[in-house]
Symmetry: D2
Subunit: 445 residues, 4 copies
Amino acid sequence: MKTAKSNSKTNDLFARLIRGDWSVFKKSRSDAFDGHEVLDLGSIGEALLSRRGEASGTMLAQRLLDNFEQSTPEAQLEFFLKLVKKFAADTEKLQNAIDRYQGTPSGEALLRLHNAAEPRRQELIRRLNYSSGGTHRLIKMREVLLGFVGDHPEFASVDADFLHLFMSWFNPGFLEMRPMDWSTPANILERLIKYEAVHAIQDWDDLRNRLDPVDRRCFGFFHPQLAEEPLIFVEVALSTDVPTSIQKVLHPERAPIPANQATTAVFYSISNTQKGLAGVPFGSFLLKHVIEHLQREIPNLDTFVTLSPVPGFARWLAHERANSQSEFLTEEIRESLNMLDVAGWHANKKKAETVRIALLDSARAYFLRAKTSRGAAVDPVARFHLRNGAELHQLSFLGDVSEKGLKQSHGLMVNYLYRLSDIERNHEAFVERREIIASKAVTGK
Amino acid sequence: MKTAKSNSKTNDLFARLIRGDWSVFKKSRSDAFDGHEVLDLGSIGEALLSRRGEASGTMLAQRLLDNFEQSTPEAQLEFFLKLVKKFAADTEKLQNAIDRYQGTPSGEALLRLHNAAEPRRQELIRRLNYSSGGTHRLIKMREVLLGFVGDHPEFASVDADFLHLFMSWFNPGFLEMRPMDWSTPANILERLIKYEAVHAIQDWDDLRNRLDPVDRRCFGFFHPQLAEEPLIFVEVALSTDVPTSIQKVLHPERAPIPANQATTAVFYSISNTQKGLAGVPFGSFLLKHVIEHLQREIPNLDTFVTLSPVPGFARWLAHERANSQSEFLTEEIRESLNMLDVAGWHANKKKAETVRIALLDSARAYFLRAKTSRGAAVDPVARFHLRNGAELHQLSFLGDVSEKGLKQSHGLMVNYLYRLSDIERNHEAFVERREIIASKAVTGK
Amino acid sequence: MKTAKSNSKTNDLFARLIRGDWSVFKKSRSDAFDGHEVLDLGSIGEALLSRRGEASGTMLAQRLLDNFEQSTPEAQLEFFLKLVKKFAADTEKLQNAIDRYQGTPSGEALLRLHNAAEPRRQELIRRLNYSSGGTHRLIKMREVLLGFVGDHPEFASVDADFLHLFMSWFNPGFLEMRPMDWSTPANILERLIKYEAVHAIQDWDDLRNRLDPVDRRCFGFFHPQLAEEPLIFVEVALSTDVPTSIQKVLHPERAPIPANQATTAVFYSISNTQKGLAGVPFGSFLLKHVIEHLQREIPNLDTFVTLSPVPGFARWLAHERANSQSEFLTEEIRESLNMLDVAGWHANKKKAETVRIALLDSARAYFLRAKTSRGAAVDPVARFHLRNGAELHQLSFLGDVSEKGLKQSHGLMVNYLYRLSDIERNHEAFVERREIIASKAVTGK
Amino acid sequence: MKTAKSNSKTNDLFARLIRGDWSVFKKSRSDAFDGHEVLDLGSIGEALLSRRGEASGTMLAQRLLDNFEQSTPEAQLEFFLKLVKKFAADTEKLQNAIDRYQGTPSGEALLRLHNAAEPRRQELIRRLNYSSGGTHRLIKMREVLLGFVGDHPEFASVDADFLHLFMSWFNPGFLEMRPMDWSTPANILERLIKYEAVHAIQDWDDLRNRLDPVDRRCFGFFHPQLAEEPLIFVEVALSTDVPTSIQKVLHPERAPIPANQATTAVFYSISNTQKGLAGVPFGSFLLKHVIEHLQREIPNLDTFVTLSPVPGFARWLAHERANSQSEFLTEEIRESLNMLDVAGWHANKKKAETVRIALLDSARAYFLRAKTSRGAAVDPVARFHLRNGAELHQLSFLGDVSEKGLKQSHGLMVNYLYRLSDIERNHEAFVERREIIASKAVTGK
Ligand SMILES: [Mg+2]
Ligand SMILES: [Mg+2]
């Protein structure tokens, strides 16, 4: 809205809008969006932020989202570019606010500065949320945006605004933890099948097998505006010991145990569902809520533990084996690890035994000694649980002999233990001193 | 946390916390809070913002809110002072961000500046919201804060942070409009009695009279976190004409009409309930939702109109009568208005007739010509509805002969008309050009 | 439908019905029902039982109920007379079935006999239940019927049919026990005010006082077809001892105790709500469900006891005092009881003490020795609780000093104790051997 | 309870029960039931009907049902035999009632006779219903009973008692019609897969295909006591014409139409689910409720029609073809029908055409002229819909080319039309005069 030209164009649109002439907005996908419509998408945004937005906000928001969703990727890209350029902070106003603050750094001046530094697109996003279903549609819009960010680093600031608002809107205080079971509506359950990210759910029988037996639980976080979409969910097996094999946990023929005989709750899968909410932390809060819930429901439980994949292990190990200078592998270990290259090694008891010790030794190095260039733990799942205050509790050789399990970690699985009395101390040791908290069984000390 | 001393004190608290020594927080009101506890309130805040907050956020948030609510007003004041001084933006970091932005005003530099300018208390408030019931408790905390603001103008910036977050959290997209009627839970209905701000509800019989008849409706906005608290509600009478007297509308003996015979929906009362949400706009959205809902429910309706009080009229008129230079009152009108000083004038038909024309003429001046020092319409209710795009439709002499009605407006009531096709145009005329949109019946033109 | 004439009349009605000519049924009350319409009411009944009823059952049922409810008492009486005469069992068919059974008393012959002996009105009532809201309307119809039974003993058989079906339909297995509290819908709560039969609820404040405090509970039985009508409800006070005064239990200023500190649940009021369900037993089942529920909710509870009125005591005592031959009153007791005739005796400590022992002695006689002509306990509340297996636990002098309490029992109240391990034995002693189970405190042995 | 011996045995059991000695009832299946336990099953029944049943009814009912379900078929048979012999009417009491009625056939005598003729097992069944989940368990008990009835005609009278009570309990006035769709809980939806009796549902994808598209609907009747079990359900396709092929209706790739474009609702499958409710009519009521519901939901609909199988046709035709004297088949038709014996005839256009006319002619004879020995229509589905007042509307050659369709009816399907204005007349013509109401397209007249 800086040049006379765009102003007049926009004003003309407004005039038509006010007359109720909605033909300025294209509706159907068949009217493929050209340059003209791209202008429109931005223009609706301007209208929404203007005084007209006060009177017709919901309708304008609806319209912008409809148009965005029907646009071609090119038109969507144009729209995001507009968000970068035209919906940033007003630079003149910001400079004034800086000057004023530098003059007198009062609370009022600071407030004014903070407001002036807020990109206009934040308010635009807030207003888009007026429309019915707006929250979910904004999540989908950010998903589209994230697809462009790789090629368009300038979109990072737009993404930051989405994230800022989503962090506020998806504050844990607004989420509801809900158990899901076989009496949950089918349209929600099918999302579990769709989104399960760790151990794929084959079909409805497999799903039922994870929900219906008396020793199984599943919990998700829901936001009131996305009533049918769990944002994240965790699958739980009740057990009498700490399991070491996912195939045993999920065995379709296993005999369920009565819940009140269980002593151990095993979190064997935790999945986020909304790409557009990347960066909003749910996992840690969900686990804590679930532990609290289970303690109340089944007072007998005394152990809360995961059965987790080790997604980065095979890649890391390949890299170390290729590196003759690796500090992590002795010659002897290298020798034994060669067995990994023999197809079907894991299904042959003798071959498997050959590799066991070397693999577990390598795993110890991977977890306890290896670091990223920034000095962090290499394994992303480890980082998540250690940050949450869990302890690396046990390494399980051939814990996951599925194709995926063999590929990503040569079958290795691990347990992270949530010992409630230690969580805060562990968390602090990890985030403050980068200590990897691990049991004696793992450290060997 | 700038000085070593406070750091060490705080660290000591942390140490005890980590050891599980919760006695550092006082719980019961009987341990009246002294200087020491005031420190604690701030210290919990620091803990909540620190890395410990990640592990124990919910519990710390709970504790801070418990302590705050049990504190003396003095201790609460101290806490707010701390929010001003210790939980503002980090000035050093902010200066760096300003310098960087002045150097290169990139998107990234702007983002950093915006973040640096955000007071730390915003994140504190977000984390307080983690605790169960946190949203409602934060609203109550702001209510306390607003009680101090008059004497403490420095709290305005703290209040701005509350408001900023509440605007985001109470975005209309997160609110649910719910009809309320005689089958609504009693604990919600009693809030209608408590919060009704326009025409007081005498008792449960009066309440039933406003909810249960087939030609009455009531709607409220609810937030998922405050399931039992309507944030705002509007009471509606279905009618066959535009009413001019609230006593007739609420007459306990009137005969209800079948809903499908009604042509007119009358909004005769609209009340906000949460002082702590002052400044978050709900009314305009609620009215629009309600109109939409009623159009679907009762297709016969063609008129949506208020029956509204004129809260500022009597005061304004007294002022003008006292001002012999008033541009609004002729000598003749002044003469007639003297009858207002005769007790019981309104109940005497003849006396009332004497004053009618003069009062309506004065009312016309009040609505159409009088302005505040800033040039706005004098009447706050008029400002609300005109800004929403309604039209000042009709003046009703002796529309409210209750004590309150006579006192605030000599019995005058008015109707604002929401004509859907004109809303956007009216809104714009009012906000852009300060035009008072009124019917010919009012303007007399 | 025995004579050709009525048949032809009826057939004519059917013909019109089939043509969709519903004018044969009068709808509005203003068309007051005369002899002709009475015929109609019976005729709809015949249509409903006929083959036409299969196709149009719901509509015919609706119509009959509408007409019945709009009829004058005279027309309703006519309808019940018709139920007696025209909708009894088919006597010819019944005689055949008897003959056949006398011939060969096979299972099949018995079944045929049972069916033939079933009055046709049972099926009529079942079909009336097809219509929406039919169950509640049939209850109301029986309420009307019960109003006539005194003057029309021949209606007893019609009433027996209603009761037979209601016993089946309101089988405890179909009822749902629901807690009611301050978050219960207002339209249900107002029924508590309306139906409370023991200690009248003054207003909504009184109601709230009985529901909302943490040491109060209320439970009702609901039938799925009467979702807003509790069939029976009981009010419960949680306490640390067995109370002796209803005024103390209901004192508006008393301090509530935390539920988990309570050891005693006091049932201080139990009320049936539907006159039309007289004779269907709910109370015993409700009490047992409530005790089970409370045991789960508050494991600390170890005593379940009533605080009950003694509705028949004053009348009985007056009768005995008037009878100079009474076996229950000694001369000394008679003397002391004279104080009862002094107005305000109960409010005067000294006077009250004078009468205490004599009154309690008389009460002992009333409960333990007095019998009805059939040999049963005199007090109806006693019969109810003793039959349920409770024990007469304690007599409370001046337990209810309300006007009603003084009038019906000179202020006497009693506690019945439900000791779970004894219920079956007590019940059996009472129903089989007419033993009055009472504590030593009562029997004095 | 007739002989001293059984009485004393029973009394002994009671004594133990009263002492709380529940060991008299065996609990686990492993204690296989022998003669002794069979006695127990009957004895619990006696206890339940006795005075003890008043105090401990729910518990005794629970126990009897537990024991019954864990019993061997032999023990269950014994129990049913006991119901025949020991829980029939009391013959002495019955004879007295007959005598009294023969003496004076008053209303009271009739009532007494009816009561005396009611088998004691009716009250037993009512009391079994006290226990939680009792209704569903009694349905299952009758299912077991029905399995014995073939070999034990004497059980017919026991079955009649179950049916008598179920007819009363499952009165349409107590049922709730509920839409089911893709948001229905999975545990209910899996029952649709299990119980679909007409066109088998292959898997969850097939199910979703029948529920989720905008032009599909599904409705069921539910009883409040069986919240997760639809008693009957009907699947509906919305369409713009009357369909003739089930494969087209269910085609997984068809394009759904918007509901408001549909003019025709097609009931293409209706299934009962509870064998134990055989004989309780639901179908007719459900269809009428569904039609009413759809009329309100989609005012555009003007045609309500089935697409129905012809389950008896192939069998009937084989019989007629084998009968050289058949009055229904001409020589020419016989000739053409020979093609039916050629494998794969239906898939070959030319072969199919050869048989078309002959098959449709035979179908006309099957529907319009053939009768059972009792003079009824041969086809059971036809009997159901004609009795409901529908019209046989259209014959569809090769309407169902599934294996089942070819086997039972050589692929024939038919439509029954529910024309609302004709339902009552059609129903009456069918039930009173055995007229087969059919369209001209079918009758050819
Ligand atoms: Mg912000
Ligand atoms: Mg019966």
